[in-house]
Amino acid sequence: MEFDGKTILVTGSTRGIGTAAAALFLERGGSVVLHGRRQADVDAAVARLSAAHSSDRVRGLSADLSDRKACRGLATSIDGLDILVNCGGIFREAAIAETSLALWDETIAVNLTAAWVLSQALLPKLRATRGTIVNVGSDAALLGYAGCAAYCASKGALVGLTRALATELAPEVRVLCLCPGPTETDMMRASIGTAPDEEKARQQWASYTLLNRVAAPTEIAESILLAASPRATYLTGSVIMADGGATAGKRV
């Protein structure tokens, strides 16, 4: 199978897009290291995935991505690595005036700096396997959204990180950024949950895309595997939009 013999770390993989990607890697032959912030969530995800796929090729590690020391500890716990998927992220909405320094710092720490620290710390292992880094960005890396200045900044910077790493690490390590549009995850549901009219909020998210619907996590996971595929040998530095067309065109 496509990922036979490959070891893949997916951060933020106890739920949402991360868990969907981990399941697909596992299904296609890979050995998967799950990651989450809380050990209990990680244990539950490991149990769930190993049962669903009758596989012992899945294990898990916990680390707080906002803590660099914990990120470096996570990197040390991994012996060999072929693919790093930086998927862990947070989305906290706040108008510019209401954005606290803590919100800003945490958003940058988790969405950007963790991906940087893990990429740097795991670089020797990725070089050894001529590996691949897939950063999970967002359509918000290219499209500005009101109430999301910190999030947009973090995802735009993640695109910059992708390009800088791809430029410097070529040809040994391929580095890509896969940018999902609105996706049916807990993260999106949490945002919708704060809206006065949830159905209207969901339709608003959907309306940003040409397909006029939010994505299922598995659809985004398929795109992540496409970017990470050993067959994608000429893809590097790419910013791949898996956004239902949100950045390509605007529905009027």
């Binding site: 510019i96 940087w116 740097q120 200045a149 900044a153 910059g160 410097e168």
Partner: protein, 257 residues
């Protein structure tokens, strides 16, 4: 070529990192156009020196603050708005130290991300009440490296890309208030910093030649010509521009020679 002139009499501007280089050139151009200019730099001494070079006078306000800190940006804005008004915020301050991935440590990463990206957010946040009142304008000085990459500059490139994205989010959020926000993405400029780097390289001629080759137009930009375009972005000529990331890079992001 005809010189374009602007009249910014009665307007108040804050230019961060205005002690030298592009920031100084922007402060100079705004001051020449009649604006009251708050000159931000890291120390009171460097602000005073820049103000002296500009000729001094009541139209120049020293706004020293260390933008790498959490409260420095708001502090700079507070000094600039002592008169109760702000029309233009130009986030120009930056750090740019080239380092390979393997030599980039936490302090280096944080300094670039905090000065380039976080400070630009925090100055805008602090300036917002004044900009609402004046229906003012934000110009974030990004870089061509906010749009593509080179090797050995990962922290700077990440921060500048983030600045471009943040500018778009601000533009969208602030559009209903009449505040415009744009990012300017210059190529390499012949600044004091550039001259120092060229000297440090031991072979200034080939150092410059490499940069000249990098830009299809065959030369570096002068800070004054970039500053002139910043004044244009602040003017009614750019009244329909918001959320743009404008390249002014001698063609370096446009293609390959």
């Amino acid at each position: 070529m005809a010189e374009v002139t602007f009249d910014y009499g009665g307007r108040v501007a804050l230019v961060t990192g205005a002690g030298r280089g592009l920031g100084f050139a922007i402060a100079k151009a705004l001051f020449k156009a009649g604006a009251t200019v708050a000159v931000n730099d890291r120390t009171a001494e460097s602000c005073a020196a820049a103000i002296a070079r500009l000729g001094g006078g009541p139209g120049l306000i020293a706004a020293p603050a260390d933008l790498a800190t959490g409260n420095g940006p708001a502090n700079a804005v507070a000094q600039a708005t002592a008169g109760g008004r702000l029309d233009f915020l130009i986030n120009n301050a930056a750090v740019n130290v080239e380092r390979p991935v393997t030599a980039t440590d936490d302090a280096h990463w944080d300094l670039h991300l905090n000065v380039i990206l976080r400070a630009s957010f925090l100055t805008a946040q602090a300036a917002l009440p004044y900009l609402r009142q004046s229906r003012g304008c934000i110009v974030n000085i990004a870089s061509e490296l906010g749009l593509h990459a080179i090797a050995n500059n990962v922290a700077y490139i990440s921060a500048k890309h983030g600045l471009v994205a943040m500018t778009k989010a601000m533009a969208i959020e602030l559009a209903p208030t009449g505040i415009r926000a744009n990012a300017l993405c210059p190529g390499t400029m012949d600044t004091e910093l550039m001259q120092e780097c060229a000297r440090d390289s031991g072979d200034p001629a080939s150092y410059y030649a490499a940069f000249n080759r990098y830009h299809p137009i065959g030369r570096l930009a002068t800070p004054d010509e970039i500053a002139a375009f910043v004044l244009c972005l602040l003017s009614s000529a750019a009244g329909y521009m918001t959320g743009a990331a404008v390249t002014i890079d001698g063609g370096s992001t446009a293609g390959r020679q």
